[in-house]
Symmetry: C2
Subunit: 214 residues, 2 copies
DNA sequence: ACAGTAAATTTACGCCGTATATTTAGGGAG
DNA sequence: CTCCCTAAATATACGGCGTAAATTTACTGT
């Protein structure tokens, strides 16, 4: 009805991103649709196209926004410190973790981090190619740590979530202990973390150990 | 027009899966839609619902089908052997790699493999919980190796693919060598693999090293 | 011969991203 | 003060997706 509203009620790109981020955090990535974000501002979906080229660009920007929260100590952080900082923002926005790998290097913060990580690996004596590969492997594995955290399902809806977990539990509990002694013994782990702190410590340690010796 | 065709022209679940797998291999995962698979058999999309509960079940079955190609030496294979076998089928069907992690443990072959891997890690002296976690990390990281293989884009369409790669190249090549010495030095790696064999060797070695020491 | 079940069809719905064309508020130049 | 340009939205429409529900018909067993 009224194209071009008074300047006071213009959309703001930054605020759109905040909205999208909030949606992702509370209802999962699938809930981040153009219509949903637009609706939150009582606006047509097409209005977003003025602020973002297409949805993919919005997602890129979303990752960038998430990385704004990165807290790197100014002076020469080591590998573990960098990874821990990244881990923190990822755990704060797990829904974004799965779209991060492809997009990380499209953001400025991501490039900075990539440069840092490759540099640190070079300093450990790795060849340029090895350092590059290990950096990618490290980042991807770290992200996988968050995405596949036992108990996470990538589905935000609690009903579906519980259904999935119940199915998983049923499957694991019905295993023949004779045929699957080890899975039986560790079934609880796959259904939910006993200790998140320990989980991330161990994962990180394993990755850094692997890097240090390759 | 003709509900319930003569028995000779019935759909076959296995053949539907073959079709879906072929589509995934040639045109990517996004091309695997119910309509597309149905069209290949000149059949209504709804026909598939007789053979699969829903699309997700079809994807589960697709992963299962892929794992049929797993070739494990019968007697006591070690960790590297198991991972190498998995790597082989994943590289044969890279489009399925991204949906494998969540689904692996819903398949029989996946459970067998999980049992094997956890067992091997237990034998290396890891605690039950540690072995469970490391097995997941290992599998996920291995899969990430395939999904994020430099040059891969998860987009099958060659036009889009090239556009993406060109954008990436442009971005990397325009980096200030002063500010990003390491990324500049290793830019070529991110754009395409010099040596696939070496890439997978190194990735696998790094992961196994990490596991062995944690 | 006939009932019951198996395996498809038809139709419809509500989502999604986005191409295209149109509308209008506000700011700068004459 | 007016005119015009452009910024920023709306309206409309399209094709694609997964799937719910009801219907139809070929075959199987009694």
């Amino acid at each position: 009805m009224t194209p071009r509203p008074p300047a006071s009620e213009r959309l703001d790109r930054g605020e759109l991103l905040s909205t999208a981020l909030a949606i992702a955090d509370t209802d999962g990535l699938d809930a981040v649709t153009l219509r949903r974000v637009a609706a939150d501002w009582s606006v047509t979906p097409m209005a977003l196209y003025w602020h973002f080229q297409h949805k993919d660009a919005l997602l890129d920007a979303l990752v960038e926004r998430m990385l704004d929260e990165l807290e790197l100590p100014g002076d020469e952080p080591d590998l573990r410190t960098v990874m821990t900082a990244l881990l923190r923002v990822l755990r704060a926005h797990p829904a974004l973790a799965e779209i991060t790998p492809i997009r990380l290097m499209r953001t400025d913060a991501g490039l900075d981090m990539g440069e840092r990580v490759v540099g640190l690996l070079r300093a450990e004596g790795h060849s340029p190619v090895a350092a590059a590969q290990l950096s990618v492997l490290l980042l991807n594995a770290l992200i996988a740590l968050v995405i596949r955290q036992p108990g996470e399902t990538a589905v935000a809806d609690p009903v579906q979530r519980d259904a999935l977990l119940a199915a998983k539990r049923a499957r694991l509990k019905s295993l023949d202990p004779q045929a699957f002694p080890h899975l039986t013994e560790t079934a609880d782990f796959f259904l939910g973390l006993p200790d998140e702190q320990e989980y991330y410590e161990r994962g990180l340690t394993m990755l850094l150990n692997g890097v240090r010796l390759s």
